[in-house]
Amino acid sequence: MENFDEQFSITKTVEVIKKNKSTRVVLQLPPKLLQFSYKIEKHLKKALKDDKISFFILAGASTRNCCIDTVSSARVFGDLIVHYGHSCLSSTAQIPILNIFIPTKISIQNIISAFETEFSTQKAKQMILFYSTEVENSISGLILQLNKTFPNLKRTFLNLQKNEEEKEKEQKPEKEEKEQELEEKKEKKKEEVKEKEEEKEEVKEKEKEKEKENLKIFGRILPITDITQLTKNQLIWLGSSTNPTLFSLALTFGAGNILVLDPEKEYLEFEKMERTQPMRRILMKRYALIEKAKKSENIGIVVGTTNPEKDLQIVKYLQLLIKNSKKKSQVISMGVVKSLKLGNFVHDLDIFVVIGCNESIILDQSDYYRSVLVPDELDLALNHDREWDGTINLSFYPNNDMIANLEKKLKQSLDLIIIEQQNQKQIDNLIISRSETRSFKGLETRLGENKVTQIEEGLSGRASQYQDEIDLN
């Protein structure tokens, strides 16, 4: 029983529910964990002993499993979402969220010895540790131990939704890490005092602080402020080598700089990222898609997230980009992106670009009839100012300057068209309406052509095998 409590953090959940005074709690579980949903609910109810609190289990989310399904939760007026399992941590939703990562057991001793064998001989290079959500529970202890021998190791933090209290608590280690290791409690108090003092200070000062704010990417808070610093560091991934966050990291920052330590393996050993995954082949495939995008005429922009406020910017940018390249675009809102859903558009669209969370890149496209890209790939394909450096930025987000720049360009090219038209030049736009080429042009009405007959009995039974069907073979 205890074990179950620990695994699904029942106690913590109860705490949060009480603190938030939530009455309608939504439990979002990935399909793999759905079997435990009933048990979880039972345990929670038992611990809360409050009949007013009702639970809702989301079976089949309207987003990817790693994202917070705010849409479904809004349907039941949920006031707290408890998300279980791996998370991409990219939600910006306002509703309180509790992430429960199903922890894996790790042996701190083994990890330390793996570190020692790998790095004892090397000159101290700055290292940044990324870790999978599964090891979140034991990471603090591990870092404390590790920093004794490896002061050059810096950790990242998960960018979780926090209430005010937690925020204050956690801002401290981001700034001064070493102090934390020495005397935690004292420092904490000092920091809090400092914080409060700062708050009283001028607004300008605050803004300065903000500028120096640590970098946030892929749901992680990095111990650096500038993205260019990142590549100078040795990146270390602690977690499974098939974790999607790791792929995002490797694609965005290049796989060459990443060492992987999978704590679940029997024999712990650092491996180069390129060894564990065929990154080269993946990149070759991805670039083939970029090439394809260059030749495509009609591009579908698929919005696959549930926070449209944030995505409007990127949609706008992509639309401008496509228009600038004299191609046609269509925006589709889809929730979870699936090949069957995209299949409805195969006739009209040549390629899709999906706006989703950081981990929504679709690596295996064998089921898809049209290729599916991420926004950065489309930008690489259509933006002539860019040169490929061998990475794909999964956290691609256009700022206002980029949009303004495109708008300017579009205006220029429109002017050009007008001039050219004055010169009686014909601009050959490649966009062709596909509907003309469809062989099926709607149902045949055949009014008056069909014989009048009596009503016949249709099929009955389940779709997989109707009652009158017999196996032909």
Binding site: R280, K285, L340, V346, K425, L472
Partner: protein, 845 residues
């Protein structure tokens, strides 16, 4: 150095009657480029001393190094003829010959195709010792199907005299044999528009000579010489110079029999008057101690004067000097070209039907037929030639009507332009510059009138490889060229640094542009970047170009050459295969059947020539020749892959509601299936899929394309799996010429390489035998080197893709070679080594 000025050429370009556009075509190593040297030297571009050695038309370094032509090269040459002997239709006595020297190696025969398209005449060169080869036949066939008129040059006569020590009579027999073999091919093309094009020595459309030594003659030349000497009409002598005309010295008259009444062997006119003196000259000059007296006498009789310096030359050089003076190669060739090959004005009249896609009576067709400089501009770009500036190309082609000017606004119709979709692949732009191609040099000119070959600057970005350039708004494009070589050998390439991938792709695109037979593919499913070419040599050259030119500075890693396989079915599916859609509401019942290889080839042929299958002609062929049921012929839903390949999807259902609705979805699925078969994602060939039954949901929302396409693909895969699927491997037709005494080793080697010998024919007049065999391409890698080592370099081989052959072994059974190939291919593509079992595709009810 040049004997003429650019102005003279420019002036001549406006006189279509005095222009000849010709290609030099032949088997590899028969001496095209060397022969061309003579023509170039006559025009004064190189000195006559160098002619025969310089290989001016081999403009690339590797061409010079290997002594093999890789790219065809064009040059414009200017000649003046005597006023008295002008051909009937001419306009002054100066002539412009636009000449293209083409490569002879079979791997580069797409270059020949491109050259012939813009030529009206072809100078076919044949080595008199080894005779006509397969490649000679191939290029001659190509020429004839393009309605290009041939003339023949029998080359390397010096070899027959010096190396083989043949007697004049034997040489004559050799000539006759070569001419006959050429005439056999010509006679199979009866074309009333071309008229009588058979090679006939007395007509003068065949020349004999030695390119290396720079001499050539036609019978006409000798006839003229003797006519002057004996004061007899030329025609009378000409008759005696060929065929069974023997000189009876006793009776002092010509007879038709080999022997006189006493049984003495008589000398043939050709031998006595032509070959005899030549052989004698060779003999005298090559004697160790020079017989000055005999030499002087002979020189006197042929009217050659030597300077004192020249007299001191070594016998070998002396011979060349004398022969060059006696029978200068260029004179005979120019005469032959100008008299026997048509001018654009003449040729375009009958070629227009073969060239123009549109109606033969429209304005453009008429302008082409009349070679009208005032008509609308119609130009065909047949080839892209790399410029000195990296990555840019001259678009090289021929103006068929109108006049093209620098700075002119033109419409460009690309390869994919179809009059039905007037906006696709159609561009309007300005011609930056027009240039004349002069071997490795160019001459910018301001305009170019119809009937000429020309290079354009500034249109390369609009064209992939070929295209039509016009000023007429409603012009149809020129017909596409069909290439006889198919790219079946491929290598995968990747950059050492992944960042260089974009540059690599750019380089690949340029390579593809420069060579009409290279296919550069990006396989997005497997992430492979592939160059496909005609053979090992071809790929070697491509890779070299890529590394040293188009992708300079990038390190490229290339794989070993691999062949592409095909997948096929060998019997009817053992069961009706069923697939359900994802929502379970729709079902598709199909069966696969094998198609005859013959029909596959017919489909392929129709595809390259017409691109339309609905033509009644083709459908009629199906019913008459292949005995198909008419009602099924009408229900052919799709060809695949790419809507044109040799696989068929047929609807054999009856009375299914909404069936029309899923036709395009099934067709899309069929394209996907045929481009990537179930065994190892290789293209499918020779499979007919019949749709036996369909069950569709009554609501159209439940039978959308997203439901139907995956279902269709799965059912097709299942049908292939149940129809005894087999791999097909590509087979080379390999022709090896080798001395008889080492042919045993060749047989052994062929045996080891799974080759099947088709025939062995001795080459008469030599100790060579020609071995023709089928050789699996997969075994052909390194065959060249092996052949050299077992025969000490005495064998010469030429391989060209011939057909696909079914590998009899079961690819799904472990331990077979087919199974190994399948696994290798799958692993290379990043797939699981084993294909999925039938249950993965076939649903149960």
């Amino acid at each position: 150095m040049s004997k003429y000025s650019l102005e003279q050429i420019l002036e001549l370009m406006n006189h279509p009657l005095n222009i000849r556009n010709i290609s030099v075509i032949a088997h590899v190593d028969h001496g095209k480029t060397t022969l061309t040297d003579s023509l170039v030297s006559k025009a004064g571009i190189i000195s006559s001393k160098l002619a025969g050695e310089k290989r001016v038309m081999d403009t690339r370094k590797d061409e010079q190094l290997r002594c093999i032509t890789i790219k065809s090269t064009a040059i414009s040459l200017f000649y003046e003829l005597d006023e008295q002997s002008l051909p009937q239709e001419s306009d002054g006595n100066s002539f412009l010959i636009n000449l293209i020297d083409s490569p002879g190696h079979v791997d580069f025969s797409s270059e020949v195709t491109a050259a012939l398209r813009i030529s009206d005449g072809a100078l076919v060169v044949v080595d008199c010792v080894s005779g006509a080869f397969v490649q000679t036949e191939t290029v001659l066939n190509q020429a004839l199907s393009e309605r290009v008129k041939p003339v023949l040059m029998i080359n390397k006569v010096d070899r027959a005299i010096l190396e083989l020590q043949l007697e004049p009579e034997e040489i004559y027999q050799q000539f006759v044999k070569v001419i006959e073999s050429i005439n056999v091919i010509i006679s199979s093309y009866e074309d009333k528009y071309l008229g009588d094009i058979a090679i006939d020595a007395t007509k003068g459309n065949v020349a004999f000579g030695a390119g290396k030594q720079g001499w050539t003659f036609t019978l006409n030349q000798f006839a003229e010489m003797y006519a002057k000497k004996w004061k007899m009409p030329k025609e009378k002598i000409l008759r005696r110079l060929w065929g069974d005309n023997f000189w009876d010295p006793k009776r002092k008259k010509w007879v038709k029999t080999k022997k006189d009444k006493e049984g003495n062997i008589l000398e043939r006119g050709f031998c006595k008057l032509i070959m005899g003196p030549i052989c004698q000259l060779f003999k005298i000059v090559n004697q160790k101690t020079k017989d000055e007296k005999a030499l002087n006498k002979l020189l006197g009789s042929i009217g050659v004067k030597l300077t004192n310096e020249e007299r001191e030359e070594e016998s070998k050089e002396l011979l060349v000097t004398i022969m060059k003076k006696f029978l200068p190669a260029a004179d005979a060739l120019i005469e032959m070209i100008i008299y026997h090959l048509p001018s654009p004005k003449v040729a375009q009249k009958y070629r227009v039907q073969n060239l123009y896609e549109g109606d033969q009576n429209d304005e453009c067709a008429q302008a082409i037929a009349n070679c009208d400089p005032e008509g609308p501009l119609m130009m065909y770009v047949s080839k892209m030639i790399p410029t000195k500036k990296k990555g840019r190309f001259y678009a090289f082609g021929r103006v068929f009507s109108g006049t093209i000017k620098s700075g002119q606004k033109v419409t460009i119709l690309g390869q994919n332009y179809r009059p039905e979709f007037p906006k696709k692949d159609r561009f309007i732009t300005k011609i930056q510059n027009t240039v004349l191609m002069m071997g490795n040099k160019i001459e910018p000119i301001s305009n170019c009138c119809c009937g000429n070959m020309i290079g354009l600057v500034g249109v390369d970005n609009y064209l992939v490889k070929t295209g039509t350039i016009t000023t007429h708004e409603r012009a149809f494009p020129f017909k596409q060229m069909s290439f006889t070589v198919s790219p079946v050998v491929r290598i995968a390439i990747k950059p050492k640094k992944i960042q260089n991938l974009p540059k690599l792709i750019e380089g690949m695109q340029k390579l593809e542009k420069a060579d009409s037979c290279v296919k550069c593919l990006i396989d997005e499913k497997s992430g492979e970047y592939i160059i496909a070419g005609a053979g090992e040599l071809h790929l070697e050259i491509c890779l070299k170009d890529l590394k040293e030119d188009y992708c300079k500075g990038i390190e490229i890693i290339s794989s070993e050459p691999v062949v592409s396989f095909s997948e096929t079915a060998t019997q009817e599916s053992s069961q009706t295969c069923l697939a359900k859609s994802a929502n379970n509401h729709n079902r598709l019942f199909v069966k696969a059947y094998p198609l005859e290889e013959d029909l596959c080839n017919t489909i392929n042929k129709v595809n390259t020539e017409q691109k339309i299958f609905s033509t009644n002609n083709f459908l009629n062929t199906l019913t008459t020749k292949y005995k198909w049921d008419k009602k099924f012929v009408k229900k052919i839903w799709a060809f695949g892959p790419e809507q044109t390949g040799p696989n068929l999807l047929i609807d054999t259902t009856k009375g299914i509601q909404y069936l029309n609705e899923i036709k395009s979805a099934c067709s899309a699925g069929f394209q996907s299936f045929t481009s990537m078969g179930v065994l190892c994602n290789e293209p499918v060939r020779g499979v007919k899929v019949e749709i036996k039954d369909v069950k569709l949901h009554a609501d159209s929302i439940h039978r959308g394309e997203n439901q139907i396409i995956p279902m269709a693909i799965r059912s097709f895969y299942a049908s292939e799996l149940t129809a005894k699927p087999r791999l097909m491997e590509p087979i080379f037709l390999c022709e090896i010429s080798v001395p008889k005494y080492v042919s045993g080793q060749v047989y052994n080697l062929l045996n080891k390489k799974r080759g099947i010998v088709l025939s062995e024919t001795p080459k008469e007049g030599s100790n060579l035998v020609i071995i023709k065999s089928d050789l699996p391409i997969i075994e052909s890698f390194g065959f060249n080197a092996d052949l050299r080592s077992v025969t000490q370099g005495k064998a010469f081989e030429q391989c060209v893709f011939d057909h696909w052959e079914i590998v009899e072994e079961d690819p799904l059974k472990d331990g077979t070679r087919a199974n190994q190939w399948m696994k290798e291919t799958r692993i290379r593509k990043g797939l699981e080594p084993e294909p999925f079992p039938l249950e993965h595709y076939h649903d149960k009810l």
